[in-house]
Symmetry: none
Amino acid sequence: MGQRGRKKGASGEESRALLLTIAAEEFANKGFYETKVSSIVKQANVTQPTFYLYFQSKEAIFQELIDSFRDQLFSLTKVSKLEPGIVSENVPAQITDHLASIFTFFKNNPDLTRIGFFLAVESEDIKRQLASQIKMNLDSEVQNGYFLSNLDTSLFAEMLVGAIERLTLNQLFQGKETPENLAAKMVRLFLYGVSRK
Amino acid sequence: MGQRGRKKGASGEESRALLLTIAAEEFANKGFYETKVSSIVKQANVTQPTFYLYFQSKEAIFQELIDSFRDQLFSLTKVSKLEPGIVSENVPAQITDHLASIFTFFKNNPDLTRIGFFLAVESEDIKRQLASQIKMNLDSEVQNGYFLSNLDTSLFAEMLVGAIERLTLNQLFQGKETPENLAAKMVRLFLYGVSRK
Amino acid sequence: MGQRGRKKGASGEESRALLLTIAAEEFANKGFYETKVSSIVKQANVTQPTFYLYFQSKEAIFQELIDSFRDQLFSLTKVSKLEPGIVSENVPAQITDHLASIFTFFKNNPDLTRIGFFLAVESEDIKRQLASQIKMNLDSEVQNGYFLSNLDTSLFAEMLVGAIERLTLNQLFQGKETPENLAAKMVRLFLYGVSRK
Amino acid sequence: MGQRGRKKGASGEESRALLLTIAAEEFANKGFYETKVSSIVKQANVTQPTFYLYFQSKEAIFQELIDSFRDQLFSLTKVSKLEPGIVSENVPAQITDHLASIFTFFKNNPDLTRIGFFLAVESEDIKRQLASQIKMNLDSEVQNGYFLSNLDTSLFAEMLVGAIERLTLNQLFQGKETPENLAAKMVRLFLYGVSRK
DNA sequence: CATGAATGAGTTTTCATTCAT
DNA sequence: AATGAATGAAAACTCATTCAT
């Protein structure tokens, strides 16, 4: 009776949180449509009506996960504007740090990241939004003379997001690189290019 | 009797091709799961059994589209290795051409591209494969001294694929840039970086 | 609201058993293919999903009925070996009893019998298995000198099964004979033949 | 063009006969429902409309096979009444011959037999009819004093049919016994019984 | 005599969701 | 806080059968 006993006594919040975690895992691994409510609740050891006690629908819980990803991501990028008065030499380091913090967040929340950055229909929105934030940073950096004055910041921001996305999946999630290294390599490449001269 | 008469007389290949086109459109716009066979056939003005006359299943037609994308993409990239004896100055132009041809293919086949590059489960595979092709090219170019000798070509290839992906969606498909311009801009940025100095 | 209320409160096992009974009846009367899930559930006053709550598929419920028949039949025949030390005169009575118990089982479970003995693909298997059990009994009886020493027990066992089958359908199920009478008649005929002398 | 040429030139009767043969095979092996018209015509190298040129429906061709079986079987049993004036000693041989001719027919027409004797819904009818013929023969033989005067000929006829059925399937079709041997064994057993004394 | 192309009418099965307790 | 039992609404797929030629 241990398990059952515990479950009955569990606070609602616990059940809710558990469902959320399991759902994230399932969604991340199998996508929205291949994830069945029945499978989520089975793993959480609750019944289907319980699910609906905490979430209005399958879509709602998915959305909640997306929103959670978006919120965390943007609370991260909000604080990371280059400070205006910074000295030139430190710019790369600053950018690297910023990038590393994003990679760290992704690494620590792989399920959420898969959902919000790759699976959701809104993923495109989110990436656009991220690109837009990056663009704003770039613009001010251009203004401050750190970057090429004729840089197409919009396009560049999108390229960065694309790079982030691929490296997250193929390097970070594969455990091939740490967030810091990845960030450093990216920045170096983008700053100085790959041409020999 | 005009309509009916025409349909009965239609060649099978025509019906098949029509279904394929409509399916591509639907899949591209609504994804695999939200695309219903019933909706495809309605637009093609045939009945459901006709669909199954030409395709084994909804999955099969989806797969056929993916395969078509993959095949075309890789028949494109297969021909585009940098020739060994090329003079240094022409390398950027060559790369640009290659990239432009990819963008052109994407632009001319937006539905197929959405399916094969973004919607399919195999999309990751396809991108990995593309990255791998690019890496091989890069490797030989490094060997020939065009690029930094310590370049992490694998990582760089992935960044390129990420950039291609984003720009395809947000610039090319939006009609903001031509394939050629996009390719040129990308190459310039990656070759020389964005740093002012 | 009476009906609806009652249904909701019904125990699952009840619904399951009801479906099983109705399915047996339908299968027995119309065969596997002409029996539609829709018709079973209609008679059980439940909806189709309820059916799938208790049975994996139409095939599964059919199989369950077959297995039930087979299990009951063989738990019946397992106990009925002639005891070794029996006196000669009692052998016919013993055999008759055994046969009667089979006929009784068939009579009490006509739907199941129709399914397992006549409709199922496995019916042949089941009959073969029954014949094989009978053959083993016959062999030991031959050994004990009750029967002709040169009796082809395998062939004879099959003839018995054939006779059982026909009489079940045309005498027992028609209510023309009781299990006991049928058994007695069969035994007499097989033991002593029909020849006048 | 050989094949096609031949087909075009084929007489209608040839196509019809071919379809009938293939259908018999398929029905015999897979049953009515698992046999698809599409599969029959594929094996016959014709198209579905051709099938409907010769048969009104899938049911019709099945019925035709059943009727063919029934007709042949009963043209066989019609001729085989024991002649009234026969001498006592020859009765067993006569019966054996009769039985052997049935087994021979079954052996030479296994597909048809499977269909008419085992698969068809009318199989029961056909067996009943066969039993009824046998009963009539038995009755006259009883009258003539060959058999026990109190023999329940109806029941005995059914037992015979059951035995025939099983032995056909498990001995004859398995190639374990020739029609003649099988008939002889059956007759011996039924005439004199299996009791030792 | 034969076919390429198409369909009407169904059937099983799935799944998110909800009562009643 | 939770559940046993049930369902509405649809989806993919099948197959015998038939036009038009």
